[in-house]
Symmetry: C2
Subunit: 318 residues, 2 copies
């Protein structure tokens, strides 16, 4: 018997995702451009924009944007399709993806993971040089905050500020960058399970959780719903990394679109090296149960997409 | 006769600056820390914070924070001293300095300028490694937006959003990062004076101008005053770079606290290589006159600090 937990079978995640993915792709295509805000005289330099577009467009599972949109839908209580997605949710979705994309560009640099393959393509520094990749990452981080602060009053200032707050904290020293710093210093070091969880809570968990909370910030939610979404975000954030560690040993590079077996090769501690494959898989399923339970106590109605995303995230093959 | 333009002799810039500099230093000391927002469980990793603090604290002229405070003073119509600086202006001042500091850390990396000396100290990557410097810069950029978005309602949401908007645009592809990309691709290339101005308008001008406009955003100003401050910011932004180019050939490394003669050595186009030393100096003075004239038509009263800062910036020796 398959021990995997499955979500609400009645909800068609593929159909829901398809429209939203196309919409997000078009929005990124439009915004990651020479003059996204219509502001700067003369726009941005072409070579920098080319590197930024290469880093962002035409690849990636867009998990974070989908989480933003699914959480915004749950928070608003209305089912979105690609035609009625609110501008604020679309901006939040793209902003999170820009932060994710910048982190991959910098992660791949020779002084970090020194990786040449990402999503089946040459990494940004291989194609645009190290300095070009450094600047593209830097500019993508800034652009995320540009996207969240349009000056056309399409998004209320209170929400612009809330979204910037959530994203900045998740990206910074108490979030993603902090987690990467711990990762960097943990090569060849024996970590406890608790320390490993803390590293991943920051490194990947913070931005995944922020995706959920930024979606929630696109509407008004009760503090009960907010707490539940926080718990959901924490559980899937950790589950994502546990599954990543499992796939690093069980999948091949072609399936992953990146170099497999890298963690073991670099002697990095992982949930698999610490718990073994079987217990790591059980742990991922347990976290999925926690995530779904959190949604159950949220008091929100439109949580089908969040349920289905959590389920797919944990049971994914790449 | 000395042809240098001088500002209002009655205003004592040194006395004004001293209190503000101490206040800014204390604020940076407090905020660039393991848990600046009181949010993240467990705070940020110590080694990352150490690199960030090394990059930010105990050095630098703090020109950008002083511009923020001087502009906030002009916009509010009240003279600030270190005891009554509004929280919003202090946060804006420190946020701009964090962006400046991150840009220096990344600029100094081997794949960029490969510099080992900054403010008379070893650069961040020499002391903390390349990956450590990369992450410290990334985290400093995020922290700038954290500083601008406190969740304690000490700053109205409208101003939080406006400050994030100004800073993100100035830092990104249409501002500082864009200018650095042009700089990168201009080594050994013959630029026209217009292209050189465009490069510097983005590379250093955008953040200096944003410092002025962020100060203005700390209070309400008329559109006449806003236009005048924009013009002031543009003029001093460009003047700063012209003087930088002059000092690169006329000052020595010990005075500058960084490697002198670097631009010529790297065959980078500068205002001196393009205009010659005498005409570059005249150009700087002309820009100072433009900046002071803009203040004159702003309709603002408390502009003495802005006048004095512009004058010092152009007539500086390091």
């Amino acid at each position: 018997m398959d021990a995997r937990v499955t979500g609400n079978a009645a909800f068609d995640l593929s159909a829901w995702s398809a429209g939203h993915l196309a919409r997000v792709e078009r929005a990124l295509e439009r915004w990651v451009n020479a003059d996204p805000t219509g502001g700067a005289e003369g726009g941005s330099p072409a070579e920098l924009i080319a590197a930024m577009r290469y880093a962002v467009l035409g690849g990636g599972k867009r998990l974070r944007p989908l989480l933003v949109l699914a959480a915004a839908q749950a928070a608003s209580g209305e089912r979105f399709d690609a035609s009625n997605t609110p501008e604020i949710a679309l901006r939040a979705a793209c902003a999170v993806e820009l932060i994710h994309a910048y982190s991959l560009v910098h992660d791949d640099l020779p002084c970090m993971d020194n990786d040449v393959l990402r999503r089946g393509k040459a990494t940004v520094h291989v194609k645009f040089g190290e300095a070009g990749a450094l600047l593209a990452g830097d500019a993508l981080q800034a652009m995320a905050f540009e996207l969240l602060t349009p000056d056309d009053e399409s998004i209320p200032a209170r929400q612009q500020a809330a979204l910037c707050r959530l994203l900045a904290r998740a990206a910074g020293s108490g979030g993603m960058a902090g987690g990467q710093a711990i990762d960097l210093s943990s090569v060849g070091v024996a970590l406890t399970e608790r320390q490993l969880r803390q590293m991943h809570r920051l490194k990947t968990g913070a931005l995944l959780q922020a995706s959920v909370m930024m979606g929630a910030a696109c509407a008004e939610v009760s503090s009960q719903a907010e707490d539940a979404l926080m718990a959901y975000g924490a559980a899937i954030g950790l589950a994502f990394q546990v599954v990543d560690d499992i796939l690093d040993v069980t999948a091949d590079s072609a399936t992953l679109g990146k170099t497999a077996g890298k963690d073991a090769e670099h002697d990095k501690p992982t949930f698999v090296s610490l718990l073994g494959l079987a217990r790591a898989s059980e742990y991922a399923q347990q976290l999925l149960v926690e995530a779904l339970a959190a949604l159950g106590r949220s008091g929100l109605s439109e949580t089908q997409a969040l349920q289905a995303l959590a389920t797919r995230l944990v049971n994914r093959a790449c």
